[in-house]
């Protein structure tokens, strides 16, 4: 796991973040950085701490300890200034069902301090991005699930945010709307250079939309890397072994292109695969490591996620 940004300048930096509810720790020593202009996919099972982390970043709740800087500004001291550059799209449909889409956009836009021509322009932009022209004057309680999700996202774009926090933005929508939302997020990221923090249960979505991926489980970041590195790690041979001693682990760590844990070794299927496999087995021989199992072939992000979080997915929604 890498703690610093892989590419580009880090925009959000979280260090030693702790948060408890009623003495029950929810976030434990979270360290994470998010690159400017990237899409960070935040994966985690229910109760892992994703929403708490986003709630802290968006000023909805306060952290217990640790430091967070956004664009070099300290979250505690410069919250107002930071929030003016951010937008949060909650997992729930956070708008007024008895209002029309247009009335909702107008209301939230006004709360962002937009007015007159500027408000109209931003509303039009959001209507366009949500592809809502046909139903903009309809009451939202008449909308389908997909339309509601698009509006939820569109409201989040009103202030042209530098950072967009999306909490499970595709829950409960049909495939078409899901594709549309993912495309829109990608477009916004490319065209507006918006940094996106995206939580989802759907591995395929994260794989499709993210530049970087962080996996959070039981309040800890258990994996954080750029997508390519993670996918390469996924496309590997997994050799399960009996618990290795420190010397064996140290020797194996000398070999390039493999990742070592005490009970397993991942060997990437790259150009040096054969050479690396020979090296791994040489170390096994020297340290008398007993191989329990070896799995060859492509491992999906989901398999990796399940292994890292040591659980099954509990909520596919």
């Amino acid at each position: 796991m890498r703690e610093a940004a892989i590419h580009g300048e880090p925009l959000i930096e979280i260090k030693h973040l702790y948060k408890s509810y009623d003495k029950k720790p929810v976030l434990k020593d979270v360290n994470l950085s998010v690159r400017r202009g990237s899409i960070m996919g935040l994966l985690g099972p229910n109760g892992a701490g994703k929403t708490t982390l986003i709630s802290i970043l968006t000023g909805v709740i306060r952290k217990d300890s640790g430091s967070i800087t956004v664009g070099g500004l300290d979250l505690d001291r410069e919250l107002k200034s930071i929030l003016s550059k951010c937008s949060y799209v909650p997992q729930t449909l956070a708008f007024y069902p008895r209002l029309t889409a247009s009335e909702n956009l107008e209301y939230f836009g006004a709360l962002w301090g937009l007015k007159g021509k500027k408000l109209k322009e931003r509303m039009e932009f959001c209507i366009d991005k949500g592809s809502m022209q046909a139903f903009v004057n309809k009451r939202v309680d008449k909308f389908s699930g997909g339309m509601k999700r698009r509006l939820n996202l569109a409201i989040g774009l009103l202030n042209d945010p530098e950072i967009l926090y999306l909490d499970e933005p595709t829950v409960g929508v049909d495939t078409q709307s899901r594709n549309y939302i993912l495309e829109t997020i990608r477009k916004i990221n490319r065209e507006r250079e918006t940094t996106v923090i995206y939580t989802s249960h759907y591995m395929d979505e994260i794989e499709r939309v993210s530049d970087d991926i962080a996996v959070i489980d039981e309040g800890k970041i258990v994996l954080h890397d750029d997508k390519q590195s993670i996918l390469i790690r996924a496309d590997a041979v997994l050799i399960s072994v009996e618990q290795m001693g420190d010397a064996a682990v140290k020797n194996l760590q000398q070999i390039d292109g493999i990742q070592v844990e005490k009970d397993s070794v991942h060997v990437k299927r790259d150009g040096r695969f054969n050479e690396n496999m020979a090296g791994v087995f040489a170390v096994f021989r020297v340290h008398e490591v007993r191989v329990k199992d070896a799995v060859f072939g492509h491992r999906t992000l989901e398999e990796l996620f399940l292994k890292l979080t040591n659980i099954r997915l509990r909520d596919e929604d």
Binding site: T58, L83, C86, S87, T92, L93, A94, Y107
Partner: protein, 405 residues
Amino acid sequence: MIKTLYILKKEFLLIIRDIHAVTVLFIMPAVFIMIMSLAMRDLFELHGTVSIDVLAVNQDTGKKSEAFLKAMEDLRTFRFHFIEKDTATDKVKEKMLSGDYKFALIIEENFSAFVEKKGKGKDEKPLELLVNPAVNVQTQLVLKSALEGKLAKLRWDAFIDRIGRLLALAGIDRKKLKAAEESPVEVNYVYKGGQYFKVPSAVQQSVPAWLVFSMFFIVIPISNTFISERGQGTLMRLKSMNVSRFSLIMGKMVPYLLINAIQVAIMIAIGVYVVPLCGGTALTLGDSLGGLILIAAAVSFSAISVALLIASVARTTEQATTIGGVLNIIFGALGGLMVPKFVMPGFMQDLANLSPMSWGLEGFLDIFLRNGGVSDVLPKSLSLVIFGIVMLTLTVILLRRQREV
């Protein structure tokens, strides 16, 4: 300012599109005011007196009997139901029993002669009162005394007129002599707490009572919106948009203050214009617009504060509706909205003072009924505002604990 306008617009749209809110805030009190003003009209207007229906036959052809009947009707205690003048006494008795009348009054044809002391029958009895034996003695006495009193006054006036010339020669004012025979007794009702109390009419009681009641029902739309905002994550979104706790609370307070103000205007208009069209008496407004605004604003502030507290305590709209509804009905029943305070026994009147609705009602009655002004409603308004501040403080503490605002 622009933000406030959009917040107002949003809240208004949410309310007018919520049929339950419109019903509770506008239709329910309007209907209550209409029904109660008309249904309770007689009870209120005849408070302190007895409503007595009297079957009447006027066989007199002179003007004095007409003046006599008018004087009796002006007492607003008796309602005369006239039948043909040539109806025989037996027929009158029959009609009296068949029509369930307790009394029948026969004004004999010598009535005017008796009053004026001239003509045929001037020494014969001019009135015959037929009484149902089931009527209690006190009620009989009320009618008999009234008849005797008015007849005596009429005869006195006639006497004055007869000796008018002599009086003029002696330099005595005829009008003064007549006025001296008016009742020398001034009646004032003493209300618990020491102040003089004027009994309200049905509309004077109903409009403020149901107005205050409906203003407190603001709990329904406020909790609906607030709980939805909380459940749907809108509050989280607003918080992440830098909207302060103060703005959030003001965002509820200001629109609903205006909605309460609209309720006040509509309910008063119903009392003034609509109730009379249906046969009730019109609401009188008093003279103090400032006092009316003050008490209305104070009731509104306290109602909204209670509503916000309930919305914060309740987890679902059903819970809020139940808690709010029950609390309002208890406040209303206790506070003299459903049963007027002046008919309550002393200890219940003491208990009534615990209800903020009672403070509001009394404030409105100060304005509508007692011609009070700002200084009269100030103590009640202050009580309501302090009550509202306490409720609001509890709301903020609760919301902080819930980490939701």
